[in-house]
């Protein structure tokens, strides 16, 4: 469902040009849970930004869901982000002035859904992350883990095919991180493709597939074999 061929990305500042991605080849199938690891500066976020259509790339070809998005304009990219992709950010990125309901509502409004449809999606998404009772609370009234669950609800409410997470547990303690990871796994099992950047080898091991980036290239790719399968 996601296919990248020879993706290159350069960041040009006045003095230097950084090669963030050096010709990445990658394909991810529907329903996979991929963990992307690698040292700092190896291009993980860059890869995720490109995969999520937040940034353009300089060379290569990118097919998402069979659609070539290489030359799409800004508005078309916005629409794809809105309909097909859900984002989960390291620092949650909830809108501090809006309560949980309105936060989850943000992408739904851009999609132009009816009020009743939106309400139903918001309630069931918050239900799913266990925060239905806090629907009129502000993000600042929640713990970090709860905030990240709201962000997940926001990503889920649009029923995306594809969930992108950049270090979703990076700002959480290990217990909360486990909870978030449980939730992501549950979502993946329900059929959503997930790509997650993480520094935590333990969490990465829980994903179905690991991709290790180094200097903008895939250094290593491995399918994590389910321990249960191994044991049998």
């Amino acid at each position: 469902m996601l296919e990248m061929r020879g993706i290159k990305k350069f960041y040009r500042t006045e003095q230097i040009q950084t090669r963030a991605l050096a010709g990445l080849d990658l394909s991810i199938d529907e329903g996979e849970f991929v963990a992307v690891t690698g040292p700092s500066g190896s291009g993980k976020t860059t890869f995720l930004n490109i995969a999520g259509l937040l940034e353009t790339f300089d060379e290569g070809r990118y097919l998402l869901d069979g659609e070539d998005i290489t030359h799409l304009g800004d508005n078309a990219r916005s629409v794809i982000r809105n309909r097909k992709i859900g984002f989960i950010f390291q620092s949650f990125n909830l809108i501090p002035d809006l309560d949980l309901f309105d936060n989850v509502d943000v992408p739904l409004r851009y999609r132009g859904l009816s009020a009743s449809d939106r309400r139903q999606r918001i309630e069931s998404a918050l239900e799913r992350v266990g925060l239905a009772s806090r629907i009129r609370h502000l993000p600042s009234q929640l713990s970090g883990g709860q905030q990240q669950r709201v962000a997940i609800a926001r990503a889920l409410a649009g029923e995306p095919r594809f969930l992108l997470a950049d270090e979703p547990t990076g700002n959480l303690d290990s217990k909360m991180a486990e909870q978030v990871m449980d939730l992501l796994q549950e979502i993946n099992q329900a059929g959503t493709t997930i790509v997650m950047v993480t520094h935590d080898p333990g969490l990465a091991a829980r994903a179905g597939k690991n991709i290790r980036l180094l200097d903008g290239l895939i250094e290593d790719q491995q399918i994590v074999i389910d321990k249960a399968v191994l044991a049998s």
Binding site: T45, L48, N49, G52, L54, E55, D74, N75, S78, V79, R81, N82, R83, F87, F89, Q90, S91, N93, I95, P96, D97, L98, D99, D102, D105, V106, P107, R109, Y110, R111, R154, G158, D166, E167, G170
Partner: protein
């Protein structure tokens, strides 16, 4: 659009929102009332005068010396003026309409001191005056030459004129239910004159007096050492003739001083000087307030944009197009402006009521606040456009940048 969340988000920025709204409210109240006052002044200045003011020249002369013959000099002056090529007509007159200086009197229709007199400006002049002023005699007759008698202060008795000509406005005040033509009027000493002619419209001496349209012309020449002449020229000849008239009058008899020679237009402009200054000051205030309002809006919107950089990037990541971002900030701005405008309308009416009761201004025309709100909407949307556009340029990748 997303009214609900925009309003709910604004509730977390009460101070900035309310201050901006307050600024808009105060601006609206001042701008609307000031515009209304300017309109009043402009209307006042542009009222029809009833006279051919564009082609009239006014001269004031003072004769000097013991044996200065006032009557002979006036006769000679008028003779000279009326025969100048380009001059339509000329007349002596005790006061000049719209000059700010005049004489007034009270007239009654019943010879009874207990009856309230109608005040009117009065102009003593000859049978050439109506043609010179360019007023329109709609009924009755002009004075006959034999009705014009010189009055020499200190030498001849002041006599009540047998006939007078009045403006329609004065006729209507004197005889509201009757035809004034041919009717008597009584002066302060209860002597009487007969109305023999009616002028449709002519403005008097004092532009701020509510009796400006009530005027009377009575026959006679004030043969003082001070005299005033009004001279009407052919259209377009005024400015060419002005220095010529000055020169000829000076040359004709050097035993006197030409106090001034001016266009009627200039005298009228002086009479309205205060109104003009007032209008100009108010216009400056309005311009400043509009500029300040625009700056406040640019400032607040820019502040909101810079404060929400990450939020904007996140919205973009979640599917907002650039147009959605622009729309958000324009809508937010519109809400603040409208909040201010609603409060401003209340304030506008209060200020208008105060002006109406304290300064006898007419009641505010409802179209002024409506126009004011529309203007503020346009200005504020235009002012918010630049920060909104800048917000739309924030890249969605901001969302994944960790700070």
């Amino acid at each position: 659009m997303e009214f609900g969340p925009v309003i709910r988000a604004l509730r977390h920025h009460k101070t900035g929102t309310l201050l901006a709204a307050l600024q808009i409210a105060v601006s609206l109240a001042i701008i609307v009332n000031a515009s209304f006052i300017i309109k009043q002044r402009a209307d006042k200045i542009s009222r029809p005068t009833g006279m051919d003011t564009d082609n009239i020249i006014v001269v004031s002369i003072r004769g000097v010396g013991e044996n200065y013959d006032t009557v002979a000099n006036i006769t000679a002056d008028l003779n000279l003026l009326r025969n100048l090529p380009g001059v339509v007509d000329a007349a002596p007159i005790n006061q000049v309409p719209l000059s700010g200086s005049g004489s007034s009197t009270g007239l009654r229709t019943i010879a009874d001191e207990n009856v309230q007199a109608i005040s009117t400006a009065r102009y003593q002049t000859d049978e050439h005056s109506m043609n010179t002023l360019g007023v329109n005699l709609i009924r009755g007759r002009n004075f006959y030459p034999e009705e014009i008698e010189p009055f020499i202060p200190g030498k001849t008795e002041r006599k009540t004129p047998a006939v007078i000509v009045v403006t329609q406005a004065l006729a209507d005040s004197l005889y509201p239910d009757d035809d004034a033509l041919g009717k008597p009027v009584y002066w302060g000493d209860m002597s009487s004159s007969t109305i023999v002619g009616i002028i449709d419209h002519m403005q008097g001496s004092w532009v701020s007096w509510d009796g400006l349209d009530r005027n009377m012309i009575h026959p006679g020449i004030q043969a003082d050492t001070f005299v005033r002449y009004i001279i009407r020229t052919e259209p377009g000849e005024r400015d060419r003739l002005l220095p010529i008239i000055e020169e000829r009058l000076t040359e004709r008899n050097r035993q006197r001083v030409l106090r001034y020679i001016r266009t009627h237009e200039e005298l009228i402009q002086r009479s309205y000087e205060l109104d003009r200054v007032m209008a100009r000051v108010l216009l400056i205030i309005i311009s400043l307030l509009i500029a300040i309002t625009a700056l406040v809006i640019v400032g607040l919107a820019s502040y909101f944009v810079s404060q929400r950089t990450r939020q904007i990037g996140t919205r973009r990541a979640l599917g907002a197009t650039r147009a959605d971002i622009i729309r958000y900030f324009l809508l937010e701005n519109w809400l603040i402006t409208t909040l201010g405008a609603v409060a401003g309308c209340v304030l506008t009416v209060l200020v208008a009521y105060w002006l109406e009761t304290s300064f006898e201004l007419p009641r505010l025309d409802w179209r002024y606040p409506v126009a004011g709100v529309v203007v503020l909407w346009i200005i504020s949307q235009a002012a918010a456009w630049v920060p909104a556009w800048r917000a739309a340029q924030i890249p969605p990748a901001i969302a994944t940048r960790n700070v």
